[in-house]
Every structure is written in structure tokens, then in C-alpha cells.
């Protein structure tokens, strides 16, 4: 057993870390999230050049053949910079679905993701699904070779900036059946498709996708998509767990730094033992997040029950860690922590969104219990 990274992975990390430090500081990020587009194409093409967008994919798709640990390295560093560019929806989720279904679509689209030309979003949630992946009301009816989609997909990350979307719809069965769920590919500007776009509360771009008789292509096998969706969202959990470890570590750093500098009662507030203990507990939460992020990445290819159990445990840890670190970070910053001008609040806000994404803490505690 070891937890060592290869030399390549260390170098890869260092190059991302340097990029984020030098080109993606808080000011740069603020500029990007308040711009019309809400993301930076320049940053994205830099990512492509550095290999971030091709690392996770197999060589047959022009990828570099990396694995979950490489994605972990990327996400941790992106987390430290609180980067908003659509790595998760495009590379991890949409790329993940394409790689899982394989075939012509994967061959055609993954190389375009890898070069940075193609932005994609993955719509799996719905207004009444909460976090249940099997709850699918959107319908798909076969019409010759194509399918016609109707319904609404909720809070699809990157929807408003994507070129293409992968959407989940039901081809048979009733609302909550595990069978009869299928994956579809659509153009973001397809006829009948409307995107209600909005920024998210943490500065990302997203939208609800409203479908009225939209023509779509089937991805993979009809009616059998649930296990693919579960696997890909588990990969998503692994990715955001790594991101969360970056967030938590940064919150620990920013908070200890602030408390060393801020003086009250004639002394740095870092000297107050009650605050020291809180920072220690933040650190413990960050360490636990790290351990669980490693575990999650290493268990992604286990058989289904083991994978789900571990990834649920990872998500529960994420919920606890970002909440504890985030809330305490704000508290220890006092009034300053509340302001939009300080980076710390933005880490807290993004962390809170990660707590929701792919199912919140209660949801995963229950999934874990059901597999115990």
C-alpha cells in the first residue's frame, strides 16, 4: 500500500498549481464570473494545451490515458483556485458518459472535448426528482431513427455555455422505474429546446433545459442507462471530493493567515485558544476529506455495491467537511468573512453548492445505509 503520486503526476500538479496561482487569482476570477459569458475561453484553451482536457481519456479517443488519480490531481488544484470553467460538466460528466457508452459518438466527440473545441453539459435532475437518479419524467418517443424529447431538466451545469447536451429521458416504464431510462445527445440550439440560463449562487453558469418536441440521438442502449448514470455521477462525486479537498485546504490556509494578521485586544486573534481549536478542527476536516477523496478515486472501478457505498461515504464526508470548514472560516473572519470582496466567502459558497450536487449528505447517508 502506498499513497504516492508518480513523478509525472507531481509535475502535472505543479504545472496546474502554478497556472492557478499566476493566472487565476481572486481578482482574475471575479472578472471572469462578472463577465457576460461567465467563463474564460482563454483559460479553457490553456487547459487544453496543458493536457487537462485530454488526460482522463483513453488513447483511442486522442486522450492521454490517465485515470481517476489524474482527475483527482486536476480537481484539487482547480478547487484551490475555485475555478469556474466547466471541467466537471464537460470532461468528467459528459466525457464520462461518452466514454462509458463508447461507439461512434465517443469517437467523434471526445477528441473535440480534448482539444477544447466542445463544451458540454449533462442534464440528469428534474424539478421533482430531488436526488433520485431513477426519477425521470422527461419522455422520449421514438420517431423513425430519431427520438423526440419532452420535459424539463433542472440546474444543468454549463447548459447556457454548452454546444451540446447529454440529457436523461424515459423511453418506457413509469416515473420511478429503474428500467426504461435512456441517454440522449442534443444540440444546445436544437429546435424546441429552451435554456433558462442563470448564474449559480457560487458564480458558475447553469440553466434549466426545457424540451418541447426536441429531436435527439440515442446514446448507448435504450432503456438501460441507469447504471451508466450512476457510475458517471459517482465519478462526479470523486471529482468534486478532490475539489472539496482543495477548497478545505485553502480555507484552512486563508483563515490561519487572517487570524495571524488580525489583531483585537492588542493581540493577533490567532492567539486565542478557542479559535486555535476551531482551526485545528478545520484542519482535521480537511485531512479527512483528503483521505476520503483518495479512497473514492481508488474505488471507482470496484464492483457496483462497493463503489456506491464508498462514494456515498465520500459524499457524506464532503458535506461535513465543506460545511464545517466553510462556516468556521466565515466565523473566524468576523464581518470581513461576510463580504463579497473577500475570497473566503466564495470558497464557502462553492463548497455549499458541492454539498448539494449529486445528492446531499442525507441522501448519501441513506444510500450507504441501504447497502450496509
Amino acid at each position: 500500500m502506498d499513497f504516492l503520486f508518480t513523478e509525472e503526476q507531481d509535475m502535472f500538479r505543479e504545472s496546474i498549481s502554478r497556472y492557478v496561482r499566476e493566472k487565476y487569482d481572486f481578482e482574475a476570477r471575479q472578472k471572469i464570473i462578472s463577465s457576460e459569458a461567465g467563463w474564460s475561453k482563454e483559460v479553457w484553451s490553456d487547459f487544453a494545451e496543458m493536457g487537462l482536457l485530454s488526460v482522463p481519456f483513453a488513447e483511442e479517443y486522442d486522450g492521454l490515458g490517465g485515470g481517476a488519480v489524474d482527475v483527482m490531481v486536476i480537481m484539487e488544484e482547480l478547487g484551490k483556485g475555485n475555478v469556474v470553467e466547466p471541467f466537471l460538466p464537460t470532461v468528467v460528466l459528459s466525457g464520462g458518459v461518452l466514454a462509458a457508452v463508447g461507439g461512434e459518438h465517443a469517437k467523434a466527440l471526445i477528441p473535440q472535448i480534448a482539444t477544447g473545441e466542445l463544451i458540454m453539459g449533462f442534464g440528469f435532475a428534474e424539478p421533482r426528482s430531488r436526488f433520485d437518479l431513477n426519477h425521470v419524467e422527461a419522455s422520449a418517443k421514438k420517431d423513425g431513427e430519431a427520438y423526440v424529447l419532452n420535459g424539463r431538466k433542472s440546474v444543468v451545469l454549463a447548459a447556457s455555455i454548452a454546444d451540446k447536451l447529454i440529457l436523461v429521458a424515459r423511453t418506457s416504464g413509469s416515473t420511478r422505474d429503474a428500467d426504461g431510462i435512456s441517454l440522449f445527445l442534443v444540440d444546445a440550439n436544437a429546435k424546441g429546446l429552451t435554456i433558462e440560463d442563470y448564474p449559480t449562487i457560487d458564480g458558475h453558469r447553469a440553466g434549466d433545459v426545457v424540451l418541447e418536441d426536441v429531436k435527439a440521438e440515442l446514446l448507448g442502449e435504450e432503456g438501460k442507462a441507469l447504471s451508466v448514470i450512476e457510475k458517471v455521477t459517482d465519478q462526479g462525486i470523486s471529482a468534486i471530493a478532490s475539489e472539496a479537498m482543495g477548497l478545505c485546504r485553502t480555507m484552512v490556509d486563508l483563515t490561519t493567515q487572517y487570524c495571524r494578521e488580525r489583531k483585537q485586544f492588542g493581540t493577533p486573534i490567532a492567539k486565542f485558544q478557542v479559535l486555535q481549536h476551531r482551526m485545528v478542527d478545520m484542519l482535521i476536516h480537511a485531512e479527512e476529506m483528503t483521505s476520503m477523496a483518495y479512497l473514492g478515486a481508488l474505488k471507482l472501478d470496484e464492483h457496483e455495491v462497493e463503489r456506491k457505498k464508498v462514494l456515498s461515504a465520500v459524499k457524506v464526508q464532503l458535506g461535513k467537511s465543506v460545511k464545517y470548514c466553510g462556516e468556521e472560516a466565515i466565523q473566524l473572519h468576523g464581518g470581513m468573512g461576510m463580504t463579497e470582496e473577500m475570497a473566503i466567502g466564495h470558497y464557502f459558497m462553492h463548497g455549499t453548492m458541492l454539498e448539494v450536487l449529486f445528492g446531499n449528505t442525507d441522501h448519501h447517508r441513506k444510500r450507504y445505509e441501504s447497502l450496509m
Binding site: G334, G345, T352
Partner: protein, 395 residues
């Protein structure tokens, strides 16, 4: 000991309900009053003032209604149930009591009526960039020149200063004296030349706090409350009053019952199980409800003590700590209820657009972020614990 309400109490409750039915229409009872215009707020404040109900805690001679603790309790409960605006705390809970306790006759005559009916909107100028928890280290200076003070310095985190007509300020009048001893309590008209207000935007996009800069601001000496250099005593008195109202039990109860309503609304869940049937969720709701009971009866005990002449003491710190913790837990629960729709930032929709998710989700995340302030302001919860350790436990 007796917890039952009398017949008169119930009549009193009915009187309040009738008033609210008439003056606080159903459509305003939406649960979300985070954003409001100045005028709307004043209109409401004045309605209560006209009725004589705006300042339940004030003595009768200064415009209070002369209610018993039970009546005050019933009133607060009914107001919270109807989800009315709070009355302006700076006027009613803070500067008013300082003026009627420490002000001279002239000041009482001049300031109490407009404070009571909100012809003056007050803001609180305590905190400074370098003086938060260590308030006594404040550096804004007031130098006496003839019948005026010349004030220089800056205040920060000043809530709703953008709406305020007057600010009550703690200023340093003796820079030589030990921290607490050279402080004075000064009332300043916000229209005086030399005052600049700059907004501070908080997480979630609210503009509720500001920086206030004072540059050679000329303040008539008659605006000094009490004695020069004795301001710390008045400042502490005010903080005690500020804290006791801060628990917000009734508002918490209402917010929680709103969440229960939403979590039980079948139309939101369709074929999916309703959230209120979820065991984990039920446990959280019930725990908060039980904690609220403990808080409520702690508050009632404190009130009864106050009525028996004990004045709000360090016990108010207990209420502040627990009350704010519960408010924060409820705000996080709202995020859980909202599910994915906690994520969109949609509060800037124009009136014609509808949000993508259900109504109850729109403010959920912003509300959670905003509520973090409650354990920071009014003396942070760490400072409250320090106070209790010292004043109650004698440590």
C-alpha cells in the same frame, strides 16, 4: 408557576390578529422579507406607532403600551406568525432606551417622538475597521471646539446606513484615558457635511451594511448623551438590550413551520415521496423544534426576571448564542429542502420572469449565507461565551 393563558390574554391575541388582518394583507405574508424598500418599512412602522404598539418594551411614559410580559410574548408571537417586518431595531431596541434612560429632558422631548414613529431612521455607529470585538479600542475622535464637536474617523458594518437620517456614534473624547474611559455617545445627523456612506456587498449579493466616513463633521455639543467620557456605560447598556431581542424565537418557529409546509406539499413532489416523510429530515426538524422549546422557555424565564426588576443581564448572552445557532440551522435546512434549486442565483429576476425552481427555493442559499452574520454581529458568539464565563461563572 402557570403556563396557561387567561381569557383576557386570548382577547388580547384576537385584538392583534384583527389589527394584522386589516393592516398586513395576506399577500405580504410570504415568509421572505429580506428585501424591502425604505418607504414600505416606514409605512409599517408608522402604522404600529399610531396604534401605540411599536415599542412594547418602552415604559408607558415614553410611548410604550404598558403590557405585561405575557402580552408582549403574545404580541411577538402574532407578529412573527403574520411574518411582518421587524420594527427598526436601531430605533426601538437601541437608541430609544439609551435616550430615555440617560438623555436629558431636552433630548427626550426632541428625539423620542420621532424615534418612536420613525421620522428619524437611526443607524448604529459602533464598529470600526480596527475595532470589532474589541469595541473599546475605537479610534473615531471627537474634539470639543466651543459649542461643537469636530468628529473624524470611520465606522464600518453600519446596517442600513444608506437609509438612515441619524447615526448614534461611539467616539473617543479623551485619547489619553484608558480605553473604556474616554468614550462618549454622540448623536449625529447624517446630512451633516463631511459624512460619506459607501456600500459593502455581502455574500449572496445583499446591500445591508456600509462604511461610514466622517471627515471634520461638526456636531452640536447638545447632541452628547449623558456625560462626556461616560459613553461606555451607555454603550454596554444598549448592547444588553440589543442582545435580548436577538434570539428571534417566534421568527424561528414561523420559518420552521414554513419549511414543514413546503416539505409536506404534495404538489411539489408528485410521484416522489414527500420530504416530510423522510426519517432523517423529520429528525432534524424535530430536534430544532425541541431546541426551540428550550430557548423559548429560557427566554420567558429571563423576561420574568426582568419584570421582577433584574434588568437584562448576562443571561441575554445565552439567548443570543442559542437563538442565532438555531436561526442558522433553520437556514441550512432551507437549503436542504430546496435540493438542486438551491443553486441558481435568481433573485435579480424582474417581476415578470418566474424563477426556474419553486418560490421557496429562491432565497434558500442566499439566506443560509446571510445568516452566518448572526453569530458575528451584536457581539460575536465567542465574545458572548467570554461574557458568560466571566459574569455568570466567575471564571
Amino acid at each position: 408557576m402557570d403556563l396557561a393563558f387567561t381569557e383576557e390574554n386570548e382577547q388580547f391575541r384576537q385584538e392583534i390578529r384583527d389589527f394584522l388582518d386589516e393592516n398586513w394583507p395576506e399577500e405580504k405574508r410570504s415568509g421572505e422579507v429580506t428585501e424591502f424598500g425604505r418607504d414600505e418599512y416606514i409605512t409599517w412602522h408608522k402604522k404600529l406607532a399610531d396604534k401605540g404598539w411599536v415599542a412594547p418594551s418602552w415604559p408607558k411614559e415614553y410611548g410604550g403600551p404598558g403590557w405585561t410580559p405575557t402580552q408582549k410574548y403574545i404580541f411577538a408571537e402574532e407578529m412573527a406568525k403574520a411574518e411582518t417586518f421587524n420594527v427598526l431595531p436601531f430605533n426601538i431596541g437601541m437608541v430609544g432606551p439609551v435616550i430615555y434612560t440617560f438623555g436629558n429632558e431636552e433630548q427626550k422631548k426632541r428625539f423620542l417622538p420621532p424615534t418612536l414613529n420613525c421620522d428619524i431612521w437611526w443607524c448604529q455607529g459602533y464598529s470600526e475597521p480596527g475595532s470589532g470585538s474589541d469595541l473599546a479600542s475605537l479610534r473615531t475622535k471627537a474634539v470639543r471646539e466651543g459649542d461643537h464637536y469636530i468628529v473624524n474617523g470611520s465606522k464600518t458594518w453600519t446596517t442600513l446606513a444608506q437609509h438612515a437620517d441619524w447615526i448614534f456614534c461611539l467616539v473617543k473624547t479623551d485619547t489619553e484615558a484608558k480605553a473604556q474611559e474616554g468614550i462618549s455617545f454622540l448623536l449625529i445627523d447624517m446630512k451633516t457635511p463631511g459624512i460619506t456612506v459607501r456600500p459593502i456587498i455581502t455574500m449572496g449579493g445583499d446591500h445591508e451594511v456600509n462604511e461610514v466616513f466622517l471627515e471634520d463633521v461638526k456636531v452640536p455639543a447638545e447632541n452628547l448623551i449623558g456625560q462626556e467620557n461616560k459613553g461606555w456605560t451607555y454603550a454596554k447598556f444598549l448592547l444588553m438590550h440589543e442582545r435580548s431581542g436577538i434570539a428571534g424565537t417566534h421568527v424561528c418557529k414561523k420559518a420552521l413551520s414554513r419549511l414543514r409546509e413546503v416539505a409536506s406539499d404534495k404538489s411539489l413532489y408528485g410521484d416522489a415521496p414527500i420530504l416530510m416523510d423522510d426519517a432523517e429530515f423529520r429528525r432534524k426538524v424535530s430536534e430544532i423544534e425541541m431546541d426551540l422549546m428550550a430557548l423559548e422557555y429560557t427566554e420567558l424565564r429571563a423576561l420574568a426576571g426582568e419584570e421582577a426588576g433584574k434588568g437584562p443581564g448576562a443571561e441575554s448572552s445565552i439567548l443570543k448564542i442559542r437563538g442565532t445557532e438555531i436561526q442558522q440551522r433553520i437556514s441550512h435546512l432551507a437549503v436542504e429542502v430546496a435540493g438542486y434549486y438551491a443553486m441558481p442565483f435568481q433573485r435579480e429576476l424582474t417581476g415578470n420572469e418566474t424563477p426556474s425552481g419553486p418560490e421557496h427555493t429562491v432565497h434558500a442559499a442566499a439566506g443560509y449565507f446571510n445568516k452566518r452574520k448572526t453569530s458575528i454581529y451584536g457581539g460575536s458568539n465567542e465574545i458572548q461565551r467570554n461574557i458568560i464565563a466571566k459574569a455568570i461563572l466567575g471564571l
